[in-house]
């Protein structure tokens, strides 16, 4: 109980999250949602491992203002994306379009997956091979032999069973 209390105290003391606080006015919730989507999906060109929403740099601030302005000017999503790519290249998109320079980026996961599957398949087939030969189809003669053996054992079993009971 005491631990629980202490842990909840920790939550109360947690530092405020470092989100960017700029208050832009929007007419509709759709505009606000589009703005949020853009600042999450576009990368800050200066601090290259952050998106626009997480960056404090001056250029990120400018780009956020620009996105807000373009949304308020009723620009379409494609127009905004094209505007950004024309200035900062594919780099600014966290999900770059597929073209010759981004092909490696898009295709390497698939290639790695295929390599993984190949390795897995080889390991699996190696492990499965001994049992696979054993469970191969029996010839009719072998089948007969097997049946004989099984029935013989059944007879023995019932015999010993009844003997055991009679004693």
């Amino acid at each position: 109980m005491r631990n629980l209390f202490l842990i909840s105290c920790l939550f109360l003391m947690s530092l405020s999250a470092n989100a960017v606080i700029e208050t832009y006015q929007f007419d509709t919730d759709v505009q606000r949602a589009r703005y949020q989507h853009f600042i999450e999906e576009l990368r800050c060109p200066k601090c290259q491992n952050q998106n626009l929403s997480g960056s404090d740099s001056a250029i990120a601030e400018d780009l956020r203002r620009q996105i807000h302005r373009m949304i308020m000017d009723d620009k379409s999503d494609i127009e905004i994306t094209q505007y950004m790519v024309a200035r900062y290249g594919d780099f600014i998109l966290y999900r770059p379009q597929f073209n010759s320079s981004t092909a490696v980026l898009w295709l390497s996961p698939i290639a790695l997956l295929l390599i993984g599957l190949l390795v897995w398949w080889r390991m699996w087939s190696k492990r499965a091979r001994p049992s696979a030969t054993a469970s191969a189809e029996l010839t009719p003669a072998e089948q007969q032999q097997l049946q004989d053996l099984l029935s013989e054992r059944d007879e023995l079993d019932t015999k010993t069973d009844s003997e055991g009971r009679s004693q």
Partner: protein, 185 residues
């Protein structure tokens, strides 16, 4: 064979260490900068602008910045690296290189004082207070320097301070290859 398999992790480690060491050396030597981005403007015309000049406030447009080839330097007084590169720009201008500049998101008075004190290597300075031309150029910070050819096409963009080493390695070979204006026609 089983024994060899035990050493695979070690071999992978050694290979990776060699790669990382090589890249790190290239970064130290200035041959490779992982944070540099290829400019989206490369081989594209300089964006259209219409902005006041820093010195007298007259409106400058694309037709005001021209030359056989020229540099367009993006700078600001708030930028420490610009302070560092300024003497080299002055010496380039003394050698006859045409340099225009964009004073990026700056205060006019401070910028004028800067040029008065340190010398003015620029043929004209575009005063971009709001950073709108910077945005069109795809500027990520200052300083940045663009090499523009006689047709107004951007041929190279350098992010960071210009200095002799950068000039010799990146700019001089490109400039040597630029077609002389009018010679091709």
């Amino acid at each position: 064979m089983q024994r060899f398999k035990l050493f695979i992790p070690l071999l992978v480690f050694v290979a990776l260490a060699a790669v990382f060491f090589g890249v790190e050396r290239k970064i130290q030597g200035g041959d490779y900068a992982p944070t540099d981005l290829p400019s989206a403007l490369l081989n594209q015309p300089l964006p259209v602008f219409s902005l006041p000049a820093l010195d007298d406030g007259r409106i400058l447009t694309n037709s005001d910045i021209q030359g056989e080839w020229f540099l367009l330097n993006v700078w600001a007084t708030w930028c420490p690296t610009c302070h560092y590169e300024h003497p080299f720009l002055v010496s380039l201008a003394e050698q006859g290189v045409t340099i225009y500049s964009v004073d990026y998101k700056d205060e006019a008075a401070a910028a004028r004082r800067w040029l008065a004190e340190k010398g003015n290597p620029y043929k004209a300075t575009i005063f971009d207070a709001a950073g709108s031309f910077g945005l069109d150029l795809g500027v990520t910070g200052a300083p940045e320097t663009y090499l523009v050819d006689g047709e107004g096409i951007v041929r190279f963009r350098y992010q960071g301070a210009l200095e002799q080493k950068v000039w010799d390695r990146n700019f001089a070979p490109l400039i040597a290859k630029l077609p002389v204006l009018g010679a091709g026609q």
